[in-house]
Amino acid sequence: MDQNVILEVKNLSLNYVTDDGTVYAVNDLNFVLHKGSTLCLVGETGAGKTSTAKAIMGILPHPQSKILSGEVLLEGEDLLKASKKRMQSVRGSKISMIFQDPMTSLNPVMRVSDQVAEVLRLHKAKSRIEAAKMAKEVLLQVGIKEDRITEYPHQFSGGMRQRVGIAMALACSPEILIADEPTTALDVTIQAQVLELMKELKKQYEMAMIMITHDLGIVADVCDYVAVMYAGSIVEYGDRRHIFTNAKHPYTIGLFGCIPDLSIEQEELIPIKGMTPDPSKKPKGCAFAPRCAYATEQCFQETPGNYEIEPGHWVRCLQFRGEDTENV
């Protein structure tokens, strides 16, 4: 196995069983995360981005969710088969996660310094005093001054709460940071602050990062690699140059066409027609076909494979069959 790969997700499929039926959230997902790099999972609501992250972290809701197949390999170890105890030690120390809404992810009745210290006490078995001292340092690093650290989350603004979330995630210097829409709930000027902070810290801690977002602007800002998700599958994968200058999948092209862009003049947006498919119905053929302008009859019949159209640039679309170097 490639020495540079720190996390590999192989053939991951999972579903949720609800009263209304089975929801196929993630279908046969594959990606690798390289050491020190940032991978962006981008897609719309229901694309399966968060489910993927939760599967990696082992925090899928139980018992509604069911992992049907696949492996999540952290340095060769399959996390899906790991014991509860093992996962507890992986979470927070090896892989950490930042959530979208910092108000709901922080404990409202615990001082922020204690919340950060708790992580250290659990994973590094530090004494109370030592943990408190380290917590203070980490909080200072994310820009929270000493005179505020004994306050409670409700006394903080949204941006500061997210900083606390970042401090908690970084306290044990994890190797992988999963950030699930970390700036979606924040205002743009605060978002800019938090993104700058995350970029800086990522460099400093030499972490790999999985950034989940629906905002292509953020993707352009932070990513090294991009995986565009649609209806539980990665439809296009490549490095930032592939996706931003040479996007091939009709959905990716559609996404770029329908966002207003500050930097250029556009007369009219080109929306993707229709809406995201009902995830409780597994369509035959390509999931995007009903909304695709290029769909042929075959697209409704045959599930597209994953075609590598240039080195490291994969597209899941039948148009590109035969153009690939190797069919997986």
Binding site: D187, T189, C258, I259, P260
Partner: protein, 317 residues
Amino acid sequence: MSEKLVEVHGLKKYFPTKKGLLHAVDNIDFYINKGETLGLVGESGCGKSTTGRLLLRLIEPTGGEIKIEGQDVMKMGAKEMREFRKKIQIVFQDPYASLDSRFSVYESIEEPLRIHKVYNDPKEMEKRVFELMETVGLAPRVINSFPHELDGGRRQRVGIARALALNPELIVLDEPVSALDVSIQAQILNLLQNLQKQMGLTYLFISHNLSVVKHISDRVAVMYLGKIVEMAETEELFKNPLHPYTKALLSAVPTPRIDIDKQRIVLEGDVPSPIDPPARCRFYNRCYCRCEGCAEQDVQLVEVKPNHFVACMQAQE
């Protein structure tokens, strides 16, 4: 020059709180020309939604003057106001919260027509509802659906159909696409633009999303902490921003491109509290070009170029 549909002077709204008066909207002036879209941008808590609601008198202003078609809205009695509301409608951010969950699509769209007793004949009313649904791109088959059965985009279409029902002159759009996914957002934005073209509507488009505002607006007003800090035609504002806050805001928006390298101005700190703010430039403590004079007195919105207003002493010089 084009005709002004809305003129607002010295509009204020203060909310009493335990800690003091919260200056949600503090002495703002603006106008909207007939048939244009004025974008109102700003971050959360800057008073943009309050401004929208004040325009419809959904909340009563603390002071100031609102003129729509030359009529002073503030001086109207309840009866007059009800009649007048036909002309001004609002679409809210979250269509799930703004639609009655026990009303079917038909009932929701029919409600304004019923309240204002537009039709006596139920057949005609039904015809009008179907016509409105077609206008906003709703398939007739969803007519008996309830809001929870619809997706976000369709729900927002119902909200728009309701707002259109009484043939208004002005629609206040309060973050109409913020709750929607990008592909649906584009559909709704295009719909709004087409409706404006067809019916000659005037919009006040409230949003925190600068890219969306740039796309849809003819002119843009930027708000910060209860004040309008800059107002200009869209192209001028985005090409040549004068206020330091506008500049920072524009630079903070992530653009979906990798070929342009841009300098991001990262503002320090958070927006200060709007409760009893000191009488000086509101942006003072986060401003990266402040000078001594800025701390001492409040700054007014001044027209520095034709149709380009800015409230910053540095820029005014």
